[in-house]
Amino acid sequence: MAETVDAGFLVRWLVAVAEAVDREADRLTELDSAIGDADHGANLKRGFASVTETLAKEPPASPGAVLVTAGRQLVSTVGGASGPLYGTLLRRAGKSLGEDGEVTRERLAEALDAGVAAVSQLGGARPGDKTMLDALVPGVEGLRSSYEAARAAAEEGALATVPLRARKGRASYLGGRSVGHQDPGATSSALLLAALADTARTEEA
């Protein structure tokens, strides 16, 4: 595996996210209709399709610029809570990377960590509230060790939302009835980190 990643790697990651979201859109919507409003799959599909299109038209030069562009695009096209939240995750992470042409995995983890902190601040949620943070926080922590550790930790974090009672977002309106359902936001966050690991694996091969 390459020691550092460049702008092209991050573009390939986001393309992989778009493909994963497209593939899993129905499942995300299904999860969202159980405890939300049945739009998560369609919204992310629209957002990441537009991210892919924008990045293909004018590929930014640095990893940071790729993430900032993608984040801005998500804010402008997704709507709902996931637009501002995923948009902030990527924009803040991108800003934290600055203009460096290549970054290490550790540096990427730090940048995503800054993005996760911004998401937590914007949405007012913490781990355990049954939100995307339940996959992102362990996933980004795992990224400090390896891409595969990030995938595994995020997936585990998403599954661990099943018994939780939602304290943020639309699922919180259900009170105790949110228990027993996997959180759609945590599920899509796990897809993001799985796509990152897939991209790294492809590079390695």
Binding site: A38, V75, S76, G79, G80, A81, S82, L85, S172
Partner: protein
């Protein structure tokens, strides 16, 4: 469903709205509905928006005496900040803009981002959150109460104040006062079907109803065997009155969720008025109809807004929008 394809339902509806309402400017591409005469000199402009699927909210409330602009999002998805920034820039006369925001995480975040961007463009922006749904436990540890039927009251009454030329701080404080005095409770007799999903958002068997539902097909807090109109009115009005504890007269909104006939809504209103009389709550005005809907959901909601003389006068003030129209 009476649609072409799910992807174009919002744009199709906006094109139809433009054709039916030449008194509005409808930007189908950018998804903004505006008063054609905006900006109106010296007037504060009310801008609202939210997911589509609640029609006539919000686009049907654009016009003199109510909203200056509305920003429709995808079905049940809040609009994006770009829409509100564009709307604010188009309708601001220099007197400032009031964002009316229903309390949902997505709406709050997108309007917050929009307010920052609009302020960067030199527009004075104030925001009011609508959170009137008593079915949601209001707690520091949840997203808080949802905005539902109270939105109509905030938009109508604050819109009347703006039409009279009240300054931004005054329009904002009236909007807040209205929200504080509004409470709602909703009931679903059937789930709704979003165009994207094509099947009901939750599973509600025949012969059961869901109490305390929101307006996005979210399941409610409790399911029971079917109740009569009389029993539903007892339950819903009690829930609202116990939370509001009005000491003066109220305006009652008996609202249909989209698929309940007016015949049934008027029958339900008779029961609502009966309960209010029993609870000794005087009713100053009543509005019955489909105003804050949830696609094809069958069911209803009750909103009560406690009013003083000023709020009642502003409620009675002339309004000229596609969905609400009286006076002059």
């Amino acid at each position: 469903m009476l649609i072409n394809v799910p992807e174009t339902v919002v744009a199709d509806a906006l094109r139809g709205m433009a054709a039916a309402h030449p008194e509005l400017t409808v930007d189908v591409e950018r998804r903004v509905v505006m008063r054609r005469d905006a900006p109106v000199a010296g007037q504060v402009a009310l801008v609202s928006g939210g997911g589509s699927g609640h029609e006539p909210l919000h686009g049907g409330f654009v016009g003199p005496g109510m909203l200056a602009a509305a920003c429709p999002g995808e079905v049940f998805t809040s609009p994006v900040p770009d829409q509100m920034v564009r709307a604010a820039a188009a309708v601001d006369s220099g007197a400032g803009v009031l964002f009316v925001v229903k309390n949902y995480t997505g709406d709050v975040l997108n309007f917050e981002m929009a307010a920052e961007l609009a302020e960067d463009e030199g527009i004075q922006v104030a925001k009011v959150l609508v959170d009137d749904d008593v079915a949601v436990t209001d707690s520091l540890y949840t997203a808080g109460r949802r905005g539902t039927g109270g939105t109509l009251f905030v938009e109508k009454i604050a819109g009347a104040a703006a039409e009279e030329g009240a300054p931004l701080e005054r329009v904002e404080s009236i909007a807040r006062r209205v929200n504080e005095r509004c409470r709602s409770f909703g009931v679903a007799l059937s789930a709704c079907t979003t165009p994207a999903k094509g099947s009901p958002t939750f599973d509600l068997p025949e012969g059961e109803l869901e109490l305390g539902i929101g307006i996005h097909g979210e399941p409610g807090r409790e399911r029971r065997p079917m109740m009569t109109s009389r029993e539903i009115a007892d339950f819903a009005v009690d829930a609202v009155v116990e939370d509001l504890r009005p000491s003066g007269p109220v305006i009652a909104l008996v609202n249909g969720m989209g698929a309940t006939p007016l015949l049934e809504l008027y029958g339900f209103n008779a029961e609502v008025q009966r309960v209010l009389a029993e609870r000794k709550v005087p009713v100053a005005r009543t509005l019955v109809g489909n105003y804050v809907t949830s696609l094809d959901m069958a069911g209803c909601s009750v909103t009560l807004c406690e009013v003083d003389e000023e709020l009642l006068r502003l409620w009675d003030a002339p309004v000229r929008t596609p969905a609400l129209r009286w006076g002059r």
